[in-house]
Amino acid sequence: MLNLNAPREWLRGGVIVAFAFIVGAAAAARADDLQDAQQLFKSGHAQQALERVNRALAANPREPQARFLKGLIFTEQGKQQEALDIFAKLTQDYPNLPEPYNNLAVIYAGQGQYDKARAALEQSIRTHPSYATAYENLGDVYAKLASQAYGKALQLDSSNAGAQNKLSLVRELVREPTPKPVAAAPVAKEPPAQVAAVAPKAPEKPAADATTEVMQAVNGWAQAWSKQDVDGYLGYYAKDFQIPGGEARDAWEKTRRTRISGAKSIQVGIDSPNVTMHSPEQASVSFRQTYRSDKLNTKSRKTLELVKLDGRWLIREEKAGK
C-alpha cells in the first residue's frame, strides 16, 4: 500500500492526489526503482525521479503506479498536457481506479474545463463511492460551475471580477433575508426555501472571536493612519477595494499618500463600533469616526466592508453613513 502526497494543492487546500490501490504484480526488482523514484519525488528531485520512473517503465510499460507517478512528476513540472495524457490513458487501461480520474479532473479544473472535471470526478466516485478526495474536489468543481452560472445570471464582467473574486462569490455565503414576494398576496410556496431544502445542513457559524479579529484590523487601520504610516494604512485595503468615484487605484493611492504624509499630525478615533458578520470571511463595521489634523477636524459616521483574504481582514469598501 503506497500513499503519495500531492505535489501541490488545489482549491480548498486539501490534499488531492492519493494513490491508494494495491500494487499488482509489479516485479520486485523494478519496485526498487519505483520506490526510489517516489523518494526522490517527495524530496523535490523531480527530474531524477523521472529518470527512475522511466527506467521502471522500460521494464514494464503498463505498470500503473509508475505511470501514475510519472503523471505526478509532469504535473509538478508544469507539463500539463503530458500529465493529462498519462492520467487519461490510465483511466482507459484501469477504469476501476478512482485516482487517475481524480487527477485528470484536477488538471481539467486547472484549465478551467469544469464540465470535464465534473464528469471525471463523478466517474471516480462511481468506481469508488467512498473516495473522499473526489467528493471534496467535486464539491469545489460544483461551486466553480455554480459561480459560472451565477456570473451568467447576473452578467458579471469576468474580466474585472477576477478569478479570486469569482471564487469568493460562492465561498463567502451571506445570510440573506427571505426574499420579498412581488405582491402582498400569499405565494403558495416560495422557491427559495425549496432550493435551500436540497441541502438541509445547517449553515456554518462564524467563529466566536471573529468580531475581535475584525476590530483588531479596524483599530490597526486607524492607528496606521494616525501614525501617518501610509504603507501600513494602504496595506489594510483589499486589492479590489472599491475606490470612491471610480478613480484608478494608483491615482487614489497617490492622493492618499500626499494627504496623509502632508499633514503635520493626524489623529483618528473609532467610537461605538458595531460589527456585523455576514459570513466567516465577510463583515461590516459601522462606527463614529473622529478625525483630527492640523488642517481639519471632522466627526462622521462610517461603514467599512471587510473581507478576510489569506487570514487578514482587509477593507473592500468604505462608505459614509451607517
Binding site: L145, A153, L169, L173, V195, A199
Partner: protein, 385 residues
Amino acid sequence: MRRFAIALAAAALSWAASAATPEDRLSAVFEAIEANQPDVALKRVDGLIADYPNFRLAYLVRGDLLLARARPLETFGNVVKTVPQERVEGLREEALARLRALRERPTEDLLPRYVLQLNPEQKHALVVDSRRSRLFVYANDGGKPRLVADYYVTLGKNGIEKTREGDQKTPIGVYHVTANLPRKKLTDFYGAGAFPINYPNEWDRRQGRNGHGIWLHGVPSDVYSRPPRASDGCIVLSNPDLVSLGRQLEIGLTPVIIADEVEWSDAPALEAERASLAAALEQWRADWQSRDSERYLAHYSQRFAAPGQDFASWAAHKRKVNGAKAWIKVGLGRVSMLRYPRERDVVVVTFVQDYRSNGLSNAMKKRQYWAKEAGAWKIIYEGPG
C-alpha cells in the same frame, strides 16, 4: 431495430420540449426541486439553458443546484453582497412572479372587471396585472372576453401610477395601441418590435399627468427577459411573446387596460353592470333625440368637462343648439365599455355616433367617461374618440 426505437424516443422528447414554454419548463425545474430530485432539476435546467441561452434566471437556478452539491444553501441565488444585490433581487422577483402566475391562474369563471363590452371590431383586449407582472389576452367572444393567453411582463422601475415625465413608472388606465413599430426601425434595445399606447389619454391630461412614449416592446437580443421592475415605464415582453402578442394587436382598436391588481368578477355580475350602463347610454341617446335639453343635460355630471368646456358652458351651448333643431336622430354603433382601473366606478365608453338633424348630419367616433354618482350613471367627460 434498437437504434430505430432510440431515435423515435429522442424525437418525441424534443417535440415535448419545444411545445412547453420556457416558463413551463422553469416551473418543471422547481417541481423537481420540490420533489427532492435535484438531479432531475439540474438536467431540466441544463436543457432549458441549452434552448434559451440568454435566460438569466435559469442560470441562477443552475448555480443554486450546483452549489447545493458543494455546500448548504442559504437562500435563492446564493451570491455574496459584493455583487449588485438588485440584480439578484430582480431575478428572484422574476422567479416568484413567473411561478406564481403559473400556479395561481385565474379560474375559468373569473373575468377582469374592466372588460364590460367590446365592439365587434375589437378582436382582443389586453389586461395588465401590475402586481403579478402579467399580461392577459382576452379574445372577443361575441362581445364577451375569453382568456386566450397570458405573458410575464416587465414594468416601470419605480412601479405604477405614472404622473410625470421621467418618473419611470407605468401608467394605470384604459389605453389602446396606436402604432406598430417594426424591429428594423428600432434599436436592439426594443427587441422584436414595439406598439405605442396613447398615454397620456384624455383622463390623464385632465388629472395633469404628463410624459409620453409608453410602449409595449421586446427585449435586447442578449437577454431572454428582464426583471419585473426594470423599464422606464414601458410594458416589456420577451421577444417570442411580443411576436405572438403582436399578431393579435390591431392599431387604434385593441384596448390595453393597465391595472394595479386586477379586480376579478364573474359573467353574471359583469352582465348586470354592462346592462345598467347600456340602459343609461340608451336613455341619453333617446333624450338627446327628444330635444328636451333638460332631460338630455340631466345625464351630465356637475363635474363634467369636455375639451375647453365645463358643465355650464356645455349646457348653454347644448340648450342653444338643441332648441334650434326641428328634429334630431342619433344612432350609436360599435360600442365598447371599459371600466377604468383604480377609479371608483368610472367607465370609458367609445362608440360611433351617427348624428342627423335638420341642418347638420355627421358620423364621428366619440368617447365618454361615465361615472356612478349617487347610484346613477353620469357623463363626466365627452370628446372625440
